[in-house]
């Protein structure tokens, strides 16, 4: 029995001990009255503490105003300490949980936690942007209500998670997501979402490249083979023979150009860093303007803009061919009567070589893929215009070997602007 309980009992006994002689010596009723009065006093005392405890238990606070009297003191103290410990523990746990959630938020992969019925329990901000979720309102929703693509719904229903699901996001254009389902805590699931847009794009580029090389080489080859067959089987007069041979040599030149461009591209890729010639830009711009005029035969207005300040340091042949390519493209894709503007501006921060045309322009969706090998916006047109489909790929490589960025801006029907931005350490003679 605890000390407090014994004290309470002793007090009751003491009352009885006082009441007993009074009852014996004075009168029986007097004894009872004293006993009752004593007990009543104790009752008042206990009630006061009881009321205090009740008040506190309704809204337990731990700022130290819970103090009992007499035998209640110990009980109050223990309750108070218990409450305080509990609160400290909860605060500690809360902090740990908050840290775990923060760690989840810091992940660059998207994470969604699902319960056994595939309802959303938690997701991090990456997943919110990847799947257009809003965790504040979407907690408890079945995930298929919001990620509704049939492939995903099917994947969840099949519940065969041995392989990840590759999903082309319908929320943000061209994002490719790889979704892994990892079971945890029994039948709950953790959904891990990786953004594989870049890998997917590289894969596609590689596949396209092989297919394109074969296709680009086979087209002229088929033509050649066809003519050869004709020449072998049909007796032709001299003129026709000459015409056929002419067309054949055209096709073989074409094949040679493609192979030459492929070799250029691979040599740029594997070559050591470019040596540092000094490229006289004022001269080069003038030469580019003359070349453009030659290519245009007076059908376009060619404007060269330069203040003659600053020259480039780098591999001259590469730069000349890259700039020449941009200018030739501009002339080629601008209808007669249009304008091609070649400009060079350098200052201490860097330099920009730009070619602006008033041509047919490029649909924005093609721009990111424009420098891929053999990528063609309009298959028919660019081959007629005599391109190999490798020009811009070579330009981009040559420029990036000089730490330059190729920036492409274009509005369909208005014109395009191709600009090469060079860093300050490539500029000399300012």
């Amino acid at each position: 029995m605890s000390e407090q309980l014994i004290r309470a009992l002793l007090l009751a006994l003491l009352t009885a001990l006082i009441a007993l002689p009074v009852g014996y010596f004075v009168a029986q009723w007097a004894g009872w009255s004293v006993f009752c009065a004593g007990l009543a006093l104790q009752m008042v005392f206990h009630f006061r503490n009881f009321a205090r405890l009740e008040r506190w238990s309704k809204a337990p606070v731990v700022d130290g105003n819970l103090e009992g009297e007499g035998s209640w003191d110990g009980i109050f103290g223990r309750l108070y300490r218990h409450e305080k410990d509990l609160r400290e523990q909860i605060a500690k746990r809360d902090k740990e949980i908050a840290m775990l959630i923060e760690a989840g938020q810091a992940l660059t992969d998207g994470v969604v936690l699902l319960d056994q019925n595939n309802h959303i329990l938690f997701c991090n901000t990456t997943a919110e942007t990847q799947l257009a979720l809003v965790i504040r309102t979407d907690r408890g929703q079945p995930i298929v209500n919001l990620v509704r693509q049939p492939e995903f719904v099917h994947y969840l229903q099949e519940a065969d998670f041995s392989r990840p699901l590759t999903l082309r996001s319908d929320r943000s254009e061209d994002r490719v997501l790889s979704i892994y389902m990892i079971p945890y805590a029994g039948d709950r699931r953790l959904m891990q979402i990786k953004d594989v847009t870049q890998t997917d794009r590289l894969d596609r580029m590689r596949r396209d490249f092989v297919a394109n090389v074969s296709h680009e080489l086979r087209t002229p080859l088929t033509v050649l083979a066809g003519f050869l067959e004709t020449l072998q089987e049909i007796e032709l007069d001299r003129d026709e023979r000459q015409r056929y041979l002419g067309m054949m040599s055209e096709q073989s030149t074409r094949m040679e150009m493609i192979v030459q461009d492929l070799l250029t591209l691979s040599s740029i890729e594997s070559a050591p860093p470019p040596q540092n010639d000094i490229v006289d830009m004022a001269n080069l711009i003038d030469k580019l303007r003359r070349d453009a005029e030659g290519l245009s035969h007076g059908r376009h207005t060619i404007i060269a803009e330069t203040d003659g300040r600053g020259d480039l340091s780098g591999a001259e042949p590469e730069l000349v061919s890259a700039f020449g390519n941009l200018v030739a493209n501009a002339v080629r894709y601008t209808p007669p009567g249009g304008t091609v503007r070649i400009s060079w501006h350098a200052n201490a921060q860097g330099a920009e070589f730009a070619v602006q045309d008033s041509g047919i322009g490029i649909d924005p969706k093609h721009i990111p893929r424009l420098t891929e090998r053999f990528y063609r916006v309009d298959r028919g047109r660019s081959r007629d215009a005599g391109g190999t489909g490798l020009g811009l790929a070579i330009v981009k490589h040559s420029l990036s070997r000089h730490q330059a960025q190729l920036e492409i801006k274009s509005t369909p029907g208005v014109g395009s602007r191709f600009a090469a931005h060079f860093p300050a350490n490539r500029i000399v003679g300012l």
Binding site: A132, V134, T137, D138, G140, Q141, P142, V144, N145, L146, R148, Q149, P150, V153, D170, R171, D363, K365, P412
Partner: protein, 230 residues
């Protein structure tokens, strides 16, 4: 809505499942529309068949959901917001199914154009822009239904008039185009069919949003004009 506690949690589950089925159907229609738009933009008509095939599945789902609605009404006799949810759903699936039909029309139109060897390049961008706007409307209308978000539903309704304006301007351009060069009439008519289907998809998305508002607020704002969405 279904978050409110019913005596029978089975009922809650039934309603939840019904909603998920509607959204599953919505996902199929979204995919139909976006594949049709892709086919139009890229000229790869291989996907046309899968779009047409998906229509059967959408139709089956429509019937199944309608059946479920009838069952719930008969068995549970829902009241107030639950009743509105069931009624709203049976209207939403009708609109979804029709939007799917329009997607099918687009796909078939695209096939006609490209099989005849034409390229709708001149109107490619305008129509694609229109289609993307309509697709976003459908997506947002379904999101609004999933989240019972009337704010989003109202923004879809407002977006519909933009799609309508854009549709009219495309039609005007096409008419001028046809007058200038009568050889383009066949292709232009196909493009008009496609643009018309896209515009209808936008209307269906608007109807779905109106149902969402009805389900949540109990207000029927159909045919009330601009006042209704305030």
């Amino acid at each position: 809505m279904n978050e409110s506690q019913h005596l029978s949690s089975q009922f809650d589950e039934d309603l939840g499942r019904l909603r998920t089925h509607v959204l599953q159907m919505g996902g199929m229609v979204e995919t139909q529309i976006s594949s049709a738009v892709d086919a139009y933009a890229t000229g790869e008509i291989g996907s046309v068949k899968s779009i047409v095939d998906a229509d059967h599945k959408v139709n089956e789902l429509e019937k199944a959901i309608d059946d479920d609605c009838a069952h719930i009404i008969a068995k549970r006799q829902p009241a107030a917001s639950d009743l509105r949810l069931v009624l709203g759903i049976s209207k939403i699936v009708t609109d979804l199914e029709r939007a799917g039909d329009e997607a099918k029309k687009i796909a078939k139109g695209v096939r006609r154009i490209y099989e005849n060897g034409h390229v709708p390049s001149q109107f490619g961008i305008g129509v694609r822009h229109l289609a993307e706007a309509a697709l976003i409307m459908v997506r947002q209308a379904l999101d609004a239904f999933a989240r019972l978000d009337t704010e989003q539903a109202r923004s879809v309704i407002r977006a519909d008039s933009e799609v309508d304006t854009e549709f009219k301007s495309i039609i005007r351009q096409l008419i001028t185009h046809m007058m200038e060069d009568p050889r383009t009439i066949t292709t232009s008519i196909d493009i008009i069919t496609i643009a018309r289907a896209i515009e209808r998809i936008g209307d269906h998305a608007k109807n779905i949003s109106e149902q969402v508002i009805y389900v949540v607020e109990g207000r029927d704002i159909r045919h009330t004009g601009k006042e209704g969405i305030k």
